[in-house]
């Protein structure tokens, strides 16, 4: 069965290879937004430059690295406007997926993982490289930092897949749920730190955020990458990623099982 899932992933990867121009255009968009946000933070830090050169423990350099990394990771962890699964439910194609001799959730998980690898190679890396070229942000130099980051990224991506899956299978109950889905995505992006790094959140918001699964999606890998998380807090953050990933995956599987007991297929 594992072989099957690997093939699904590989096929999904290869399917994405065809959309070269769309990827390039999307890359340009990512870079453009990275540029805008960078300039805003450069200006923000300028006023605070005199005092400490750092705000809430983040220097301008840390911040720039953080936002470029988050921009790079968006497409991998939580691509905005991903409704593939919802679409198959609406059109009834989901029936053929359900008829496959594989687990429905793991099928989609492998599929999305294949896609994630594509975006990691052809979107995340070029985006961050652009940031390095344009703003001279650099990257971590120690091997163990990269190793920890790799693990963090893996769990963040898994979490992202589970989350995507969850707001898509709402379609089993509410046929047109794209507006709600879009909002739910935005919440994740917002609390994950893709608009404003979590470290700049006021204390009460950070407290709320600690109970949400969104920081493990973007903020934790970004903080690991920028070396602003070490020792105890790092271990805590990494375990929160694992725990949330497990919780969301189990929840997604439970919801799917519930949906499948009472699904009505429309169309022939």
């Amino acid at each position: 069965m594992l072989r099957f899932y690997l093939e699904v992933a590989r096929t999904a990867f290869r399917r994405q290879l065809v959309y070269r121009w769309a990827n390039l255009a999307g890359l340009a968009t990512n870079i453009f937004f990275g540029v805008i946000i960078s300039y805003v933070y450069i200006a923000l830090f300028q006023a605070n430059d005199q005092a400490r050169g750092e705000v809430n423990g983040f220097t301008l350099h840390d911040t720039l690295r953080y936002i470029w990394l988050v921009q790079a990771l968006i497409m991998v962890v939580l691509p905005f406007g991903w409704f593939d699964l919802m679409l198959t439910i609406r059109t009834g194609e989901v029936v053929s997926d359900l008829s496959k001799p594989s687990d429905f959730f793991w099928y989609w998980f492998s599929r999305e993982s294949g896609r994630n690898v594509y975006y990691l190679l052809f979107r995340s890396i070029p985006t961050y490289l652009a940031g390095m070229l344009l703003f001279g942000i650099g990257a971590p130099t120690s091997w163990d930092r990269w190793l920890v980051f790799g693990a963090s990224l893996f769990f963040a991506a898994a979490l992202g897949v589970a989350y995507r899956f969850l707001y898509n299978i709402i379609a089993f109950w509410v046929v047109e749920a794209r507006a709600a889905g879009g909002f739910v995505q935005l919440i994740a992006l917002f609390f994950g730190g893709s608009y404003v790094p979590v470290v700049f959140f006021p204390a009460w918001l950070r407290a709320i955020n600690a109970f949400l699964p969104f920081s493990p999606m973007f903020n934790v890998p970004a903080q690991v990458f920028t070396s602003t998380l070490t020792g105890g807090p790092l271990a805590l953050a990494l375990s929160s990623q694992v725990i949330w990933a497990v919780i969301l995956i189990l929840f997604a599987r439970a919801v799917t099982a519930r949906a499948l007991t009472r699904v009505v297929i429309q169309g022939g």
């Binding site: 255009a25 805008i36 300039y39 200006a43 830090f45």
Partner: protein
């Protein structure tokens, strides 16, 4: 001239018709507008998060940034509402529907523009208004000079037309290639994001681009600078804050010319 007025009347009827039909599903449209409003508002709260940890953005306070953000959102929201048809032009070409458009004795552009009107995008427009109001509130009101009442509406309308003209340019590209929506999105969505923050934080070349190439800044940033008594970018004279309509007209006529060129040379995909 008479033909133009007649076409505009037709456009108005098309828009009204779509608005009425969308309003038939009252709950649906309420949810759509509400969701879009909520999404825009969430993005808007960025500003206050930032100012929780930082004191000033290139000399702008939270209220001032909120005002700028709101003005840009209003201009963009209006363009989004009315420009939905232009956005969907690539689909129109792909389906071969544009042939039918050309067969009618009505301006093809107004038909395309009138083909889709998204009432739900009213959400962003209203969020923009709210943002601007919040900004003004935080600023404790402004000392109103007599000309101030004009500079914002002029600017917003001009900004809307520049956004629409950018969409038209993107649509015109569809005559020659098929996958162009992302590039126009960079200029529209990207432009909106960029213009939501004070132009002065960006590099000289970026500032110049959004002033003289795609003059969005004339519609949003310059009028707000004028209102707040701040210097205009690149040391431009204050009076240019009122130049927005002229600049928008220039840019729009360039876009219109290119569009006309594309329509004339159009060879159908065949259907």
């Amino acid at each position: 001239m008479r033909a133009l007025l007649r076409d505009l009347r037709l456009y108005r009827r098309l828009v009204a018709m779509q608005a009425r039909s969308q309003l038939q599903y009252k709950a649906n449209i309420a949810i759509d507008i509400g969701t879009y409003f909520a999404i825009s508002t969430l993005e808007f709260t960025q500003i206050f998060l930032l100012f929780a940890s930082f004191t000033t953005l290139a000399g702008w306070s939270a209220g001032e940034v909120a005002l700028l953000y709101g003005v840009t959102s209003v201009a963009f929201g209006l363009a989004e509402m009315f420009g939905a048809g232009i956005d969907g032009f690539d689909e129109m070409i792909r389906r071969g529907d544009f042939d039918r458009v050309l067969l009618r004795p009505v301006s093809p552009f107004l038909q395309v523009a009138g083909s889709d009107f998204r009432l739900r995008r009213f959400g962003r427009f209203s969020q923009g208004v709210l943002a601007a109001v919040i900004g003004l509130f935080l600023l404790g009101g402004l000392p109103w000079r007599p000309l101030d009442a004009f500079v914002l509406p002029l600017g917003i309308l001009s900004g809307m037309f520049v956004f629409l003209a950018v969409m038209v340019l993107g649509a015109t590209l569809c005559f020659w290639t098929v996958e162009t929506t992302e590039l126009t999105n960079i200029l529209t969505y990207g432009g909106r994001e960029m213009l939501s923050w004070p132009l002065s934080v960006y590099s000289q070349s970026l500032q110049r681009f959004f002033l003289f190439v795609v003059p969005l800044a004339f519609g949003t940033y310059a009028p707000v600078c004028y209102l707040l008594g701040k210097p205009l970018p690149l040391g431009l004279p204050e009076a240019l804050a009122f130049a927005a309509p002229l600049v928008a007209l220039l840019f729009a006529s360039v876009a219109a010319t290119i569009w006309g060129f594309g329509v004339r040379r159009y060879q159908s995909t065949g259907n």
